[in-house]
């Protein structure tokens, strides 16, 4: 298969799938589902092929595919994958079949499925694009299907939530567009040729310090909304809670990572010096997110909203790790992105299953479910403990690396952030107690046990939760060269160096 454009295929395949779905008659939803599942599984297989062929120990981009698109503007179809994006691509490819198989649309399966596949193409495009214009196109594409998924298939407050999501993100996008164009024109003004190519722009940096600051801010606000970083997070609880189950899974599992990925790929890479200078600000916001998200999550009455707020806390850890600017911190951040996608994705799916059974997400209406559905409760427990960061499960690896990576460079931020470890236990265990412990009464007595189909959908994710907790080495090894190169780039440009222990140089 040498020379096969794997990355292009990753984006084109779901797009073709969406077109296929559109072509299927509305009266045959079962064919729609089979086609969509088949396509998304094919994407997963392709992503796994990429994972298999990925050369460990190489920092640069692999599977690069580059075709000139609009020559006079210097825009090209430029895709590539490195240790930073590799696992996000695999995560995306995994979560789509997971979400599609794990939940059903309650009406208009065809349109719903088509939007899901368009969304998949968009998300993969964001992670793969190495051209700023292309990146922006995919970034915007993602917005549309998500808007329709929330607005069309969500719960009671879906219209408000969808609009809020759209406007928030659109505001960010507008700023980013400004940033991209300004960056490109400044570069063109200095070098005389117009290009949107990420690597070229990074290599030939031609702006002054204060300009860099403004440009970074334009990107950062956009990413910060997507992540979301406190205080730009208020679209998240509404969108997550009102979205249909699959929408919440993808929203939490993939879409939030577009923001954190953006910080790595465009923030740190394009503006290393500014990233270093502004790190204290972003670290502070990350820490605030960790604690604030946890406190607010702890008092929620709606189970889905509680998990939504827990994302604010988890994403705070990722921001913390990213701006710790150490190998451990950044790698911890990336692996935390994967872990959060798995754990929170699975949690949203489980909450969706609870809603299907009980038609409520109110914690007060539930109770005693462990008595009637012990296997369901056990699965929930495992995923919850992964989210709490229990060693031996995946969540711990990311959290630990983020915290230790931050501690060695920015000690006091790590100290405050580590209290998040306590808080995570508070809100999740309390929720578990109220939902699963106690004596079931009324409707809860008839709560059905986990079905085989549901178990089969969850099984791969549960297996990964354990595997990544016990043996994260294959993942860490593949990211390390790219992360190391990125951190070294930041250090070089900022004129600093990370603590010697981070690289193994003993004092």
């Amino acid at each position: 298969m040498l020379g096969f454009p794997v990355l292009t295929a990753l984006i084109v395949l779901p797009a073709i799938g969406a077109a296929l779905v559109v072509a299927i008659p509305r009266t045959r939803p079962e064919i729609v589902k089979v086609v969509a599942l088949a396509v998304s599984v094919a994407v997963l297989v392709l992503a796994c092929y990429g994972l298999y062929e990925f050369a460990t120990g190489t920092a640069g981009f692999q599977f690069v595919s580059r075709h000139v698109w609009i020559k006079q503007w210097g825009i090209s179809w430029h895709l590539g994958i490195d240790g930073i994006s590799l696992f996000l691509v695999v995560l995306t490819a995994l979560l789509f079949p997971f979400a599609l198989a794990g939940s059903d649309a309650h009406h208009d399966v065809k349109a719903y499925t088509a939007w899901m596949l368009v969304l998949e193409a968009g998300c993969l495009g964001v992670f793969l694009a190495l051209d700023l214009f292309l990146f922006f196109v995919f970034w915007e594409i993602v917005l549309v299907p998500m808007y329709f998924l929330i607005g069309g298939w969500g719960y009671e407050g879906r219209v408000y939530a969808a609009l809020k999501f759209f406007i928030y993100t659109m505001t960010g996008s507008a700023l980013m567009l400004v940033g991209i164009l300004a960056l490109v024109f400044i570069h063109a003004g200095h070098t005389g040729h117009l290009t949107f190519d990420l690597q070229t722009l990074a290599r030939e940096q031609s702006f002054s310090g204060s300009t860099a600051r403004w440009l970074f801010a334009a990107f950062a606000v956009s990413f910060a909304i997507k992540v979301p970083i406190f205080p730009l997070h208020t679209w998240l609880p509404d969108a997550h809670t009102e979205a249909p189950t699959a929408g919440s899974v993808i929203l939490a599992g993939v879409l939030l990572k577009l923001g954190t990925y953006g910080f790595l790929r465009f923030g740190l890479y394009l503006f290393p010096k500014v990233s270093h200078d502004l790190a204290p600000l972003l670290l502070t916001l990350g820490v605030v997110g960790i604690i604030y998200g946890a406190i607010v999550a702890a008092v929620q009455r709606d189970l889905k909203r509680l998990i939504a707020y827990s994302s604010v806390a988890h994403l705070g850890f990722i921001i913390l790790g990213t701006f710790a600017l150490t190998t451990q911190g950044v790698q911890g951040g990336i692996i935390q992105m994967v872990n959060h996608g798995l754990s929170t994705g699975a949690l949203f799916l489980l909450v969706g299953m609870i809603y299907e059974r009980r038609h409520t997400r109110e914690i007060a209406d539930l109770g005693g479910l462990q008595k009637v559905a012990p296997v369901f409760a056990g699965v929930f427990m495992l995923v919850m403990l992964s989210s709490v960061g229990l060693p031996g499960l995946n969540g711990f690896v990311g959290e630990f690396l983020v915290l230790i990576g931050t501690f060695i460079s920015r000690r006091w931020w790590a100290v405050v952030a580590a209290t998040g470890v306590i808080l995570a236990a508070v809100y999740l265990l309390w929720a578990y107690q109220r939902v699963f412990h106690g004596v079931p009464e009324g409707e809860n007595l008839k709560f059905p046990e986990l079905r085989w189909r549901e178990g089969a959908v969850l099984a791969p994710v549960l297996a990964l939760i354990v595997f990544l907790g016990v043996y994260p080495k294959p993942v860490l090894d593949r990211m390390e060269p790219s992360v190391r190169t990125l951190v070294e780039r930041v250090d070089r440009q900022a004129g600093t160096h990370q603590p010697s222990v981070a690289q193994g140089g003993h004092r």
């Binding site: 024109f185 190998t327 306590i422 412990h437 106690g438 690289q503």
Partner: protein, 656 residues
């Protein structure tokens, strides 16, 4: 033989997985036997490995075994590796040994429970985690076990989750432990920042390379972890509540093994403690205070298990007093003897409750020695051991701690010796109330109705069942002795509690087996007792006299009835100095209110309010310039794009 060490955790792990997959098919009691066999196998493996270690030359008695790289990132390199040395094998031996006995006991005790196989699933997972904790070759693998035992403790405390108190207690245990784990994590970070490694070998071998302040900080941070796990002041509050778990769990996890993990950790990092002496002093003070504080509370509890819970906290305080006095061997010695007699006390209490149809109130027992001969005989052995009556095991280990404390500080010794008196008193009180005097369960049955509601029968999740059925909890029944699976562990532990002192008799150097064996671990950092032989004898005499006084006072109150019981059980002690009530009020009051304010006022009104305010502003402006509002997204997109172009033009113009 030493390289069989991986088998120790592997066997209970295999048991866990087998039981998880097929536990329900195996059922009661085969699931229990499977679990017990696995742990017994682990004990056999521990014995083999220890023998292997013993046969090696003394200077080669540290063996590490690496299974695989766990978390390798840059300079951080954490392998999943085991460390076989004198300390880890002492721990592994007593953990697997006591675990085997308690597993065996559980086969009978848990018989008839709805979730019988699940109980052994958790129990095997616990043993696995505990072995990871003690066998680890680096801080992070210890932490893996540390959190793992915490999770198992959570599962098992809330085992009867239908009961709200059990569900709350499990959560409280986990969360409180996490407060301690915060310290453990920061301690590890500080270690990595200074040593560039988390391996015990690399860190402890170079403890001298860091400043004394850093060593103190590391010691205190890790001690915070120990305070949580080993239930010391002020984080002890989860342990009394943890008695909601089934009694074998209380015996295994909340008395013999898990709660001693903090002591083990402190012993493990002894080179760091030696380098930062301020940490040691703090540890000794917290330990002595906790020992005394918990002992006062134990004097006024009526619940048979609550007495033992506070007693455990108190005894753990002794161990930290020892650690803080650099008497590591005494700490480990007391940990082992305590495991014997406290496990025995809990199992005996369980046997009593089993025979008394889940009665836990000691005031409704009495004279049980006539009906439960094995239980009472073994319980009495444990009583003498914990009270510190020579020559039972507890006497030797406690005496060693007190002698060392004398060297550290006369004041701490004073606290310790008064605690010894209290210990003898409350344990005698318990024994007299339960096994001596006149039987009180019949009268309790007559007046049952009002008091019954608050009693929490352990085996019955729905508390009301027992109270309403006419043949229920009391009425016409006779206490009965327990089956052999429960009696055998009692007898075995009684022998250990009686003769455990033989491990380290201070007669002359050749009988101090534990001291000799552990010498390479502690070396010169171990405190050498400086008190003269004469002083030692005086201290010894004082302790014994105070112990006898404690027993005599308990006799006067609870058997001879010279003093009314209520007078020696003040409300402040019955309510544990109101500390727990204070914390609960704080959490459910101001803290909860702050959370609600953050979520519903700050987040919704202020932050989201600002966002919606901007939206409203835009809408109002929009209303006035309504003609622009075509309602088509494309027009807005055009406007956004246009605005963007203007901004670009501005930026470019400024910078070009």
């Amino acid at each position: 033989m030493v390289h069989l060490v991986w088998l120790l955790p592997a066997l209970p792990l295999a048991g866990f997985l087998l039981l998880l997959l097929s536990g329900r098919r195996l059922g009661d009691p085969r699931a229990g036997w499977l679990g017990t066999t696995m742990v017994a196998g682990s004990f056999a493996a521990a014995a083999l490995v220890t023998a292997g270690l013993y046969l090696r030359a003394p200077e080669h008695r540290v063996v590490t075994q690496t299974l695989f790289d766990w978390i390798p990132v840059g300079g951080l390199h954490v392998p999943l590796a085991f460390r076989v040395d004198q300390l880890s094998m002492v721990m592994a031996l007593f953990v697997t040994g006591v675990s085997t006995l308690i597993h065996l006991y559980s086969i009978g005790y848990m018989h008839g429970d709805d979730r019988y196989p699940t109980f052994f699933v958790y129990l095997n997972l616990f043993v696995f985690s505990m072995l990871m904790l003690v066998l680890a070759d680096n801080f992070l693998v210890t932490f893996l076990g540390w959190e793992g035992v915490g999770a198992c403790s959570y599962f098992l405390v809330s085992f009867w989750f239908e009961r709200n108190t059990a569900a709350v207690a499990g959560k409280k245990a986990f969360v409180t432990n996490r407060v301690g784990d915060f310290g453990f994590l920061l301690g590890m970070f500080l270690i990595f920042a200074h040593f560039g490694s988390l391996d015990y070998g690399a860190v402890l071998g170079h403890a001298g390379s860091i400043s004394s302040e850093t060593a103190t900080a590391i010691g205190l941070l890790l001690f915070l972890g120990a305070v949580g796990k080993s239930a010391q002041l002020p984080l002890y509050i989860w342990l009394p509540d943890a008695m909601e778990g089934p009694t074998p769990v209380s015996a295994l996890i909340h008395a013999a093994t898990m709660v001693t993990a903090g002591v083990f950790l402190m012993a493990r990092i002894n080179p760091i403690l030696a380098h930062g002496p301020a940490a040691g002093t703090t540890i000794a003070i917290i330990g002595a205070l906790t020992a005394f504080y918990a002992a006062t509370i134990a004097c006024a509890q009526d619940d048979i298990k609550k007495v033992l819970a506070y007693s455990t906290i108190s005894q753990l305080g002794y161990m930290f007093l020892a650690v803080g006095s650099a008497a590591y061997v005494a700490a480990i010695f007391h940990m082992v003897t305590h495991a014997f007699f406290k496990a025995l006390l809990f199992l005996g209490a369980g046997s009593v409750m089993h025979g008394m149809h889940d009665e836990q109130d000691m005031k409704r027992m009495g004279a049980l020695r006539k009906w439960m001969p094995i239980t009472s005989a073994t319980f009495i052995v444990a009583w003498l051991a914990i009270a510190g009556v020579p020559p039972f095991a507890g006497f030797w280990s406690k005496d060693e701690i007190l002698v060392n404390a004398w060297d550290k500080s006369k004041l701490l010794w004073g606290v310790g010796v008064v605690t010894a008196l209290l210990t003898a008193y409350y344990m005698s009180r318990q024994v007299f109330l339960v096994f001596f005097g006149r039987p009180r369960w019949q009268e309790a049955a007559d007046e049952k109705a009002p008091a019954e509601a608050e009693a929490q029968p352990e085996h019955e999740p729905a508390a009301t069942e027992g109270a309403t059925t006419p043949t229920g909890a009391h009425g016409d029944f006779r206490p009965h002795e327990s089956p052999w699976t429960m009696a055998l562990p009692l007898v075995a532990l009684a022998l250990l509690a009686a003769f455990g002192g033989l491990l380290n008799l201070p007669l002359n150097h050749s009988t101090e087996f534990l001291t000799k064996w552990l010498d390479p671990v502690f070396g010169s950092r171990l405190h050498e007792v400086t008190a003269s032989t004469g002083t030692k004898w005086v201290l010894f005499a004082i302790t014994v006299v105070l112990v006898l006084v404690g027993i005599a006072v308990a006799y006067a109150v609870y058997l001879a009835h010279r003093v009314r019981e209520q007078e020696v059980e003040p409300a402040v002690l019955r309510h544990a100095w109101y500390f727990n009530d204070f914390v609960s009020a704080l959490v459910s009051g101001p803290i909860r209110l702050f959370g609600a304010w953050s979520a519903y006022v700050f987040d919704r009104r202020i932050i989201d309010g600002a966002v919606n305010g901007v939206a409203t502003l835009v809408r109002d402006t929009g209303t006035s310039v309504r003609r622009l509002q075509t309602g088509f997204v494309r027009n807005y997109a055009l406007a956004v794009a246009g605005g963007a172009v203007l901004l670009v033009a501005f930026v470019v113009a400024r910078t070009a």
